[in-house]
């Protein structure tokens, strides 16, 4: 099915090329945000609300300001006015949104809400002073709990007389109801997913430097998208865009948490401008868990109709999301995305949906690796529920419904157009690799011995590289320097996903030069062309695509010039390992470096009309989405005496199109799966009923460790996409698929006990409680 031409000399694309980033990171020479030190730099910390909802009666700074080393302390009333606009505003028709200010003013709306910023000569002193800021609060009723918010008599926000942030539904569809009525079985179930935190190992942070005279703001950011940050700071600070420069060097992970700039970062930039000095803020872990954006916290009710064979006839999905107090994205996003993607890998025609998001007095929701993944959680757990209910094997029910190659192109009930996907193949590949039939025999033997083994499947289609607005295009400048060495300038936002390697692989292949001769420069708005940064699994597709386009364009110029110098037609030349040769005439060649030197220093030798130098800039506008597909299968054992779950085996079958670097692809999948394991078994940012967060240290918010993530095996299917390199995104799929696979495995293990698993995390106490409930039922 491949229609995409492989690069002419694909020495690097497709190979497990070792990472260019690694030598510096492995020797301690990375440059993360806390490694930035500027002369005269000050340090910030925040006074945060201990209460979820309260009126601020008074703020007394006197004792705090007296601490030696304190430079300034500002509360909201003192600092917020420096911002030129609300920080962000997602209000629309029927979708109210609070005014977002850097610091709380008048009232506080979640535990962790920043109330004042303290600037001091070092962080120790800043924290001493923050403790002494005396804030008098008058407690108000907090709105807490996804399912309680709408009916709460409290209000999450002053000035918004409802806690419903968004509510919508598909039009009434008689055909849908008719399809349900005609179904042999109609099954309804609600699935819940707890609140997570992205938890990049490097928390948020920045150094903001207002340069007086130049009237320029330079921000050293821990970000995923420097150009969007530039736009943000320009707007919020009331600056022209060319007076803002954003630099991101090494970034210690993001997973969506670092897409959007936040209130604290804004306060730091405003403070720097007031002081005319660089100000650093490094979020500590407690702040990160309490006040950086959270994710998930949602539920979905599915009503599924199937015929007697388990073939889906109709689905209705209803989604409810808690978006916290100040969501960083529109309140509709979690629900709308999940509902829209829900049809996934299955063929069915009738679909209806309803979605609602509520404000609560908790930290705001934002993107986290696969922010729509509730669709896979609900749909894939439901597939097992249906299978069990009607007595069909869970692998078989998927086979009966999954989109086959002959169905393509296929349009989902929500209008997504699939082509060049292979969900049936990745399903079979994963089942085969795990040894499905063999496991069923082992499971039966184990059950006879009183041991509970289970297997779970999760199949999904992942929309990747969603291209719209600022993320729709990407640019690459490929510049061969006079020595023949190559700089690639891009607006990408690498924060751990190996772009310094993969983009270089793409370019080196096209230019036919050694990989060591190519380097990626990214993350500095003063250096790179505008780019969308990283979000939505877009880098391989869009950035990789434009790197290829730009390199091909430059290659053409190199060949034209070389042909002119060698007195041969460009079409008769090939570049390999830095040498350009006339095909079939090894004696007739010129070094790539010589062509470069001539291009810059010897214009008289250029063909008529050729511009000196060797540089090309291209921009690529990607299709609306590129679809990857995958099936995850895992096995587990549940100890029914203690409720402990142990994962035994894990297989991911996936198709992300042409892989630039399989090692990197597998790394992305593994990292996502581990986060999914965390969500399924361990992680929970719980609040009590007053809105007090209960897991704000790493002792309580539990990340998976080496002991919790089993060996993962991969089966790759490569169906090229219709984008320049044939790539598809792979950044989020691991995280999307894992929770349902694990929940299904646990449910399968406990099926003999009549347990139905519909929520996470599957902590030992919950597992035991489910077993007890089933036994007493």
């Amino acid at each position: 099915m491949s229609t995409v031409e492989k690069p002419s000399a694909a020495r690097f694309v497709g190979a497990r090329v070792q990472r260019r980033e690694d030598p510096r990171l492995l020797s301690g020479h990375g440059q993360y945000i806390d490694d930035v030190r500027l002369p005269g730099m000050l340090h910030a910390t925040f006074v945060r609300s201990p209460l979820a909802r309260a009126r601020i009666v008074a703020i007394d700074l006197e004792h705090a300001l007296a601490v030696p080393g304190v430079v300034a302390i500002w509360d909201g009333s003192a600092l917020n006015g420096d911002a030129a606009t609300p920080l962000w505003d997602w209000a629309g028709e029927g979708t109210p949104f609070p005014e977002v200010r850097a610091l709380a003013e008048g009232d506080v709306r979640f535990a962790g809400d920043p109330v004042a910023i303290v600037i001091a000569r070092d962080r120790y002193v800043a924290e001493d002073a923050a403790e002494l800021v005396d804030v008098e609060y008058e407690p108000l009723q907090a709105v807490v709990g996804r399912e309680l918010a709408e009916a709460s008599t409290g209000r999450a926000h002053d000035g918004i007389d409802t806690n419903v942030a968004w509510s919508a539904a598909s039009p009434t569809d008689p055909a849908l109801e008719a399809a349900f009525a005609a179904s042999a079985h109609v099954i309804t179930e609600t699935f819940r997913q707890q609140r997570h935190v992205n938890v990049p190992m490097e928390p948020r942070g920045l150094v903001a430097h207002w340069e007086r005279g130049a009237e320029q703001l330079t921000v050293y950011a821990s970000s995923q998208n420097p150009h969007q940050d530039r736009e943000y700071f320009a707007r919020v600070m009331g600056l022209p865009e060319h007076h803002v420069r954003v630099i991101m060097r090494d970034v210690g992970g993001g997973f969506g948490q670092k897409i959007f700039r936040t209130r604290e970062e804004t306060a730091v930039a405003l403070a720097s401008r007031r002081l005319g000095r660089p100000v650093k803020w490094i979020e500590d872990r407690q702040e990160n868990l309490m006040a950086a954006n959270h994710a998930r916290d949602e539920q979905m009710t599915l009503r599924v109709g199937v015929d007697a064979d388990g073939v889906i006839t109709a689905i209705h999905a209803s989604h409810l999301a808690d978006v916290g107090a100040y969501p960083l994205m529109p309140a509709m996003m979690p629900g709308f995305m999940a509902l829209e993607v829900l049809p996934g890998p299955y063929r069915f025609a009738r679909y209806g949906w309803a979605g609602k998001s509520v404000f609560t007095n908790t930290s705001g929701i934002s993107a986290y690796r696969g922010p729509w993944m509730m669709e896979t959680v609900a749909r894939e757990i439901m597939m097992d529920v249906v299978a069990r209910e009607i007595g069909v094997d869970p692998a078989e029910i998927r086979r009966r419904n999954v989109i086959q190659t002959e169905d393509l192109p296929y349009t989902t009930p929500t209008g997504r157009e699939y082509d060049r996907i292979s969900p049936a193949q990745t399903l079979e590949a994963a089942l085969e690799e795990i040894g499905y039939e063999r496991f069923r025999e082992e499971q039966a033997r184990a059950r006879a011995e009183g041991r509970y083994l289970g297997l779970g499947i999760s199949t999904y289609i992942e929309p990747t590289a969603g291209a719209q607005g600022p993320t729709g295009i990407e640019a690459a400048t490929v510049r061969v320097e006079p020595s023949g060495k190559v700089n690639v300038l891009m607006g990408t936002g690498s924060h751990g996903h190996s772009l310094e390697t993969t983009m270089v692989q793409v370019v080196a292949d096209q230019l036919g030069v050694p990989i060591e001769d190519v380097r990626l420069l990214q993350g500095d708005t003063a250096v790179s062309p505008y780019g969308g940064g990283t979000a939505g699994s877009r880098s391989a597709v869009i950035a990789g695509g434009v790197a290829r386009i730009s390199a091909i364009k430059l290659r053409e110029k190199v060949l034209e010039l070389a042909g002119h110098l060698l007195e041969a037609a460009a079409a008769d030349l090939e570049i390999e390992d830095g040498t350009i040769t006339v095909k079939g005439s090894p004696g007739s060649s010129i070094a790539f470096a010589d062509v470069a030197r001539i291009a810059y220093y010897d214009p008289s030798r250029l063909p008529e009309g050729m511009e000196p130098g060797l540089e090309s800039t291209s921009r690529y506008s990607a299709p609306p989405a590129t679809y990857a597909n995958s099936t995850q299968v895992c096995t587990c054992e549940v100890d029914v005496a203690t409720g402990e779950v142990r994962l035994l085996d894990y297989v991911v079958g996936e198709d992300c199109g042409v892989m630039i670097n399989p090692m990197v692809v597998e790394g992305q999948i593994a990292g996502g799966v581990a986060q999914g394991i965390g969500g399924a078994l361990l992680e929970h940012l719980a609040y009590d009923e007053t809105g007090n967060p209960l897991a704000i240290t790493f002792k309580d918010y539990l990340l998976p460790t080496t002991e919790d993530v089993p060996d993962i095996r991969y089966v790759h299917v490569e169906t090229p996409s219709n984008t320049p390199g044939g790539h598809k995104g792979v950044g989020e799929g691991g995280a999307i698929g894992a929770p349902a696979a694990i929940v299904n495995a646990v449910a399968d293990a406990l099926a003999p006990l009549g347990v139905r698993v519909t929520s996470q995390p599957l902590s030992p106490d919950r597992v035991l409680a489910m077993i007890d409930d089933a036994r007493s039922a």
Binding site: T642, A686, L694, D700, L702, T705, E707, D765, L768
Partner: protein, 299 residues
């Protein structure tokens, strides 16, 4: 996340440390391995005017068999205890339990005295001290005294040590022939504090009846507790005739463990029974093996 200011002293002699503790009393805190104290300081959940760092006092380190007692200096690192031959031979339970403490990097700093004095109700060492019937030797400028582990552990993070007192050593009695031990815990992840943990030490007589038994659970109350009724119920009974499942269930039925974000109290009570059963079963098997001459020879 930075600690509030404090003054710091690092004496090299016990007497110096005692003088400092006497001077500052409640305002001072002993800094041992620091693996629990430093996070509390960093989170500003605790604060003291004066830290007395006892890491430089050589006299507080070391492991020595004195008669039938293993005397372990309070500042002996957990990693040392984990690897020590004397400990493995004379207090194998202590060595085995050490592996449950945090991770090896933590055990490289953490100390036995610090851990016991911290009295975390979910921690291993206070529970093992209780299981083995250990004493601690403590000192102040006024003199020295010994405290039985059961008397020492008062409630969560609270001991009967006076603020002026320094824990000098832990005195672990050597259990005799035909003794067997077990320790196990249920935790969310490897190295985490236990949701529920337990340890058992038993000695069997020639007829395989229970001559002596200590059974301890931790994580189920405000401190590690001995299951005295269970111990009494099995005393003198032939091992083979014990209905361990039922005994364990009865012994744990009245527990009222605390709930937290990781597990409910009901869960802790529920798994305490199978855990207790497992501990006894393992300890009995090991006690029999310890009395088996072929096994002895093999060791």
């Amino acid at each position: 996340m930075k600690a509030a200011p404090f003054d710091y002293a690092a004496p090299t002699e016990v007497d110096e440390a005692l003088a400092l503790l006497d001077e500052f009393a409640e305002d001072a805190k002993v800094l041992a391995g620091g693996q629990s104290l430093v996070p509390l300081l960093a989170l500003r959940m605790s604060r003291f005017d004066q830290l007395v760092d006892v890491n430089r006092i050589e006299a507080l380190r070391g492991i020595e068999l004195v008669g039938e007692t293993l005397v372990i200096g309070a500042m002996t690192r957990q990693a040392t205890i984990e690897r020590d031959e004397e400990v493995r031979r004379h207090a194998p339970l202590l060595a085995e339990a050490t592996r449950y403490i945090g991770h090896f990097q933590i055990r490289n700093r953490g100390t036995i005295g610090g851990s016991i004095a911290h009295a975390d109700p979910t921690a291993e060492y206070p529970a093992i001290a209780l299981t083995l019937g250990a004493e601690v030797e403590v000192a102040s400028v006024r003199g020295r005294r010994r405290i039985d582990a059961g008397e020492l552990l008062e409630s969560a993070y609270t001991t009967t040590l006076e603020p002026e007192e320094l824990l000098l050593s832990v005195r672990v009695p050597v259990w005799g022939a035909r003794s067997g031990f077990a320790v196990h815990e249920i935790a969310r992840r490897t190295g985490d504090f236990a949701l529920v943990g337990g340890a058992a030490a038993v000695t069997l007589d020639e007829a395989d009846a229970v001559a002596r038994a200590h059974v301890v659970l931790f994580g189920v109350a405000d401190r590690a507790i001995r299951l005295s009724s269970l111990e009494a119920a099995i005393a003198g009974q032939p091992v083979d005739q014990l209905d361990l499942a039922e005994l364990a269930r009865e012994a744990t039925a009245e527990l009222r463990p605390p709930s937290d974000v990781q597990a409910t109290g009901a869960y802790r009570r529920r798994v305490a029974a199978p855990l207790t059963e497992r501990l006894l079963r393992t300890a009995f098997v090991r006690a029999r093996r310890a009395g088996d001459p072929t096994e002895e020879a093999a060791r």
